[in-house]
């Protein structure tokens, strides 16, 4: 996957220049995205695009090699009964499962993303987090999903948060870095905006909403704020940054709302798996059911779609 060709040195941003975010205004804009009516051919196109943007995820303490292999099988064979489907963008696992996934997905274009940096809490010291990162990269991870130190952020130690991201980016080597803000712990949209700015200036290739381990996970509101931050960063530096909402997106209807929001905020250049991902597990089957419904005209049952 080609990273943005523009290289911008990591530099602490001017935190005084971050614009305020009005929550009511954001809610109203989100509500308007939700009134878009996506039908027929544009619905089919959207559903397929969504499939190609999914990071199929398993991040459980109870994960085993068997579980991960089955997930990879699903990633490669979403629904063989329907030809012409795209494959998912990536599989997302814990660092100890990266080698398993890499082996299972050999020969495909599907990426292996690994969480790292004491996911999900991030409550550890920098050296441990960097080791965690390097371990995942060494095992073959194409992408690293790190978590920011929310405690440091909320305590106002923005320098610490910035430096940490910068160091993890370096430890990633060739792997590309997604920075998880854990928006559900940040509390306000202003903070989401600020964290987005910090992460991008520190070198993030993607900014991501959530670990999926707490509520609330991704919302359209935090996603919109992050997309607007990406837009301003792009205007300022010419460097594109990707975006990934994760957790809580389990229906096609909602995923399509997100695509509408993406299209009308950042435009066509971001409408590919290279720049946008959905962190989801059960979304894929709902999309498949919707695609079947679109082509047959009949509402589907979950019984007919594999659950790995």
């Amino acid at each position: 996957m080609a990273l943005s060709a523009v290289k911008v040195p990591a530099r602490m941003p001017n935190l005084g220049k971050i614009p305020a975010v009005d929550e009511v205004g954001i809610n109203e804009r989100v509500a308007r995205f939700q009134t878009r009516s996506i039908k027929t051919s544009s619905k089919v196109e959207a559903l397929k695009l969504i499939l190609s943007m999914i990071d199929l995820t398993t991040l459980e303490g109870q994960d085993t090699p068997g579980k991960v292999r089955q997930l990879c099988q699903k990633a490669m064979h979403l629904h063989d009964a329907m030809p012409g489907l795209p494959h998912v963008a990536a599989v997302c696992v814990y660092p100890t499962m990266v080698a398993i996934a890499k082996e299972a997905l050999k020969g495909t274009d599907i990426k292996v993303a690994s969480v790292a940096t004491a996911f999900p809490s991030g409550m550890s010291k920098l050296s441990v987090k960097l080791d965690d990162t390097r371990m995942a990269v060494a095992a073959g991870a194409d992408e690293i999903d790190m978590v920011i130190s929310r405690g440091a952020f909320l305590a106002g130690d923005y320098r610490y948060v910035f430096d940490e991201i910068k160091a993890v980016k370096k430890a990633c080597g060739e792997a590309h870095l997604k920075v998880i803000l854990e928006t559900g712990e940040l509390g306000t949209l202003d903070r989401v905006r600020r964290a987005s700015v910090l992460a991008m200036h520190a070198g993030a290739d993607f900014i991501k909403t959530s670990t999926g381990k707490i509520q609330p996970a991704a919302t359209m509101q935090v996603t919109l704020v992050m997309l607007q931050a990406i837009r301003d960063y792009y205007e300022e530096t010419g460097r594109m940054v990707g975006m990934k909402p994760a957790g809580g997106i389990s229906t096609s209807k909602l995923a399509i709302h997100y695509l509408v929001m993406l299209r009308e905020t950042l435009g066509n250049a971001w409408m590919t798996p290279e720049w946008f991902r959905f962190g989801a597990s059960s979304l894929a089957n709902d999309v498949l059911m919707q695609l079947m419904k679109q082509s047959t005209g009949i509402y589907q049952s979950a019984d007919y779609f594999s659950k790995d």
Partner: protein, 492 residues
């Protein structure tokens, strides 16, 4: 000031397929009479005129042209109903009739929304999500006041005025009918209402609701027609109160016509509101506020934020973001659920807007329009902005009533106020800043009847609306809106 270049690509790629609202459940008769004394009756002179769909220029129905004789019949029916059942009814029972109207509108909401869009050109999403629900809400709100008027005016006994003549415009036909009829009835008056000649249909469907709700005949009368019918209402000797929403010019004509009579009046007229963006605003939301202020409803909004005053230090950024946002606005078939900006209401209005576009360019302004496609038939205007204009330009001074925004910069707070107030109008204004004290200083300083802070074009039945100066006199909505339909006497 040069307009910065777009960097994001909003056209092509994944496009939205047509998403038409179904109209097979919508009932529009071929021809409508006048709704007088509880029934639809033929016009005395037998004259009818067409109402068309401005998106397709196709005829929707024929409606009656009310003559002086018809207006007189309607006023008599209203007077009889007022003297008879309506003023003798217990206020709580009156309220129940008005609640019924609200509930029936809610039941028939989808049909009303479709007809509103067909007749007037506004997008179905707006009629469905804003116009019709707000109209029902107005009836619901005022229904509750009917038996509570003694609490609204301390030390005063509230009595109805009698018969109200009401003339409404074409930009929010159903909503304006609700704004007029609901408080009038709640206060115990009876009504003769004339909808605009290009948008009569939802008022006529409302007449059906009123009949179905069982209101005594004559309480509400709907007479269709154009300027002459309106004049007949204004000049009728047995009307106690005139309520008018429309242009400032006609508002002045009405004021002159009523001079020397005992008739009361309220007027809700034009505007040229300043929408003011400070550097410390939540910029992305402010841009959305600009769009809500001037492009929605095709700019056919009296309180539209048609002048943007943006603090110079953020002007380039705001304008760049505005242009990007304009590219995502969909102009098209009002009956498509994705349409943001529908058809211009009439040929006449489109001509007027286009003449202003020409004036703006002649005056030296730089015009920029979004690049969207518009349909072949019908009346359309793309979202438009003018930069390089100032207070002396006609496009900055005069109300265009279309999706056309005039942009100026300012540097200091007091300069923004001066420019904002430098107009004969005074209907509304907007201010965008993250600083609370500045919001209240602005709202204190802007000479307008409605000030929106960090929002724009928000309406609620509980919120009073109306203008200063030449934007009109009187308020509609809220407790203050009761004033328009009551005689306040001493408590005895």
């Amino acid at each position: 000031m040069a307009i910065p270049e777009n960097k994001l690509a909003f056209n092509g790629g994944w496009e939205y397929a047509p998403a038409p609202e179904s109209t097979d459940h919508v009932r529009i008769d071929k021809r409508y009479g006048l709704f007088i004394n509880g029934d639809f009756v033929a016009p005395e002179k037998g004259k009818y005129f067409d109402t068309i769909n401005p998106a397709s220029e196709e005829k929707l129905a024929r409606v009656a042209e009310a003559s002086d004789v018809d207006v007189d019949k309607a006023v008599k029916a209203a007077r009889d109903a007022y003297r008879g059942p309506w003023s003798r009814m217990k206020p709580a029972e009156r309220g129940k009739y008005i609640y019924r109207i609200a509930r029936i509108i809610q039941e028939r909401a989808r049909e009303f929304a479709a007809i509103e869009s067909l007749d007037g050109g506004k997008p179905i999403r707006e009629s469905r999500d804003v116009d019709i629900p707000l109209a029902a809400a107005h009836f619901f709100y005022y229904a509750g006041w009917a038996d509570k008027l003694d609490y609204a005016f301390p030390g005063r006994k509230a009595r109805p005025m009698g018969v109200a003549g009401q003339i409404i415009p074409w930009n929010f036909p159903m909503l304006m009918a609700a704004w007029k009829i609901a408080p009038a009835l709640a206060c115990g008056n009876t009504v003769v209402l004339k909808p605009a000649e290009t948008t009569p249909l939802t008022a006529l469907k409302l007449a059906e609701v009123i009949a179905d709700a069982g209101l005594p005949p004559g309480v509400v009368n709907i007479v269709t027609g154009a300027g002459k019918t309106g004049a007949a209402i204004v000049e009728h000797p047995d009307i106690d109160k005139i309520a008018f929403t429309g242009s400032t010019n006609v508002g002045k004509i009405i004021m002159r016509a009523l001079a020397g009579t005992d008739k009361k009046y309220t007027l809700e007229l034009g505007g040229k509101a300043a929408n003011i963006i400070f550097a410390d605003a939540a910029i992305d939301q402010a841009v959305e506020g600009i769009v809500n202020g001037i492009f929605f409803n095709q700019g056919h909004v009296c309180c539209a934020g048609s002048r943007l005053l943006v603090q110079e230090s953020v002007a380039d950024e705001v304008i760049a973001k505005l242009k990007d946002r304009m590219e995502t606005l969909i102009v098209g078939d009002p009956l498509d659920k994705n349409t943001d900006i529908g058809a211009i209401n009439s040929r006449m209005q489109l001509d007027k807007i286009e003449s202003y576009l020409a004036v703006g360019k002649e005056e030296g302004g730089t015009m920029h329009q979004s690049s969207c496609r518009v349909p072949q038939k019908g009346y359309w205007c793309r979202p438009t902005i003018f930069t390089g204009v100032s207070q002396s330009n006609r496009v900055v001074q005069e109300e265009i009533f279309g999706p056309v925004l005039a942009i100026q910069t300012f540097r200091r707070f007091d300069e923004a106020i001066t420019k904002a107030n430098n107009t004969p109008y005074g209907l509304s204004g907007g201010v965008w800043t993250d600083k609370g004290a500045k919001i209240f200083k602005m709202t204190q300083s802007i000479r307008a009847g409605v000030v929106w802070a960090n929002t724009f074009n928000k309406f609620d039945p509980a919120s009073p609306f109306g203008g200063y100066k030449e934007s009109g006199v009187g308020r509609e909505g809220g407790l203050h809106g009761l004033d328009a339909y009551l005689k306040l006497g001493a408590v005895s």
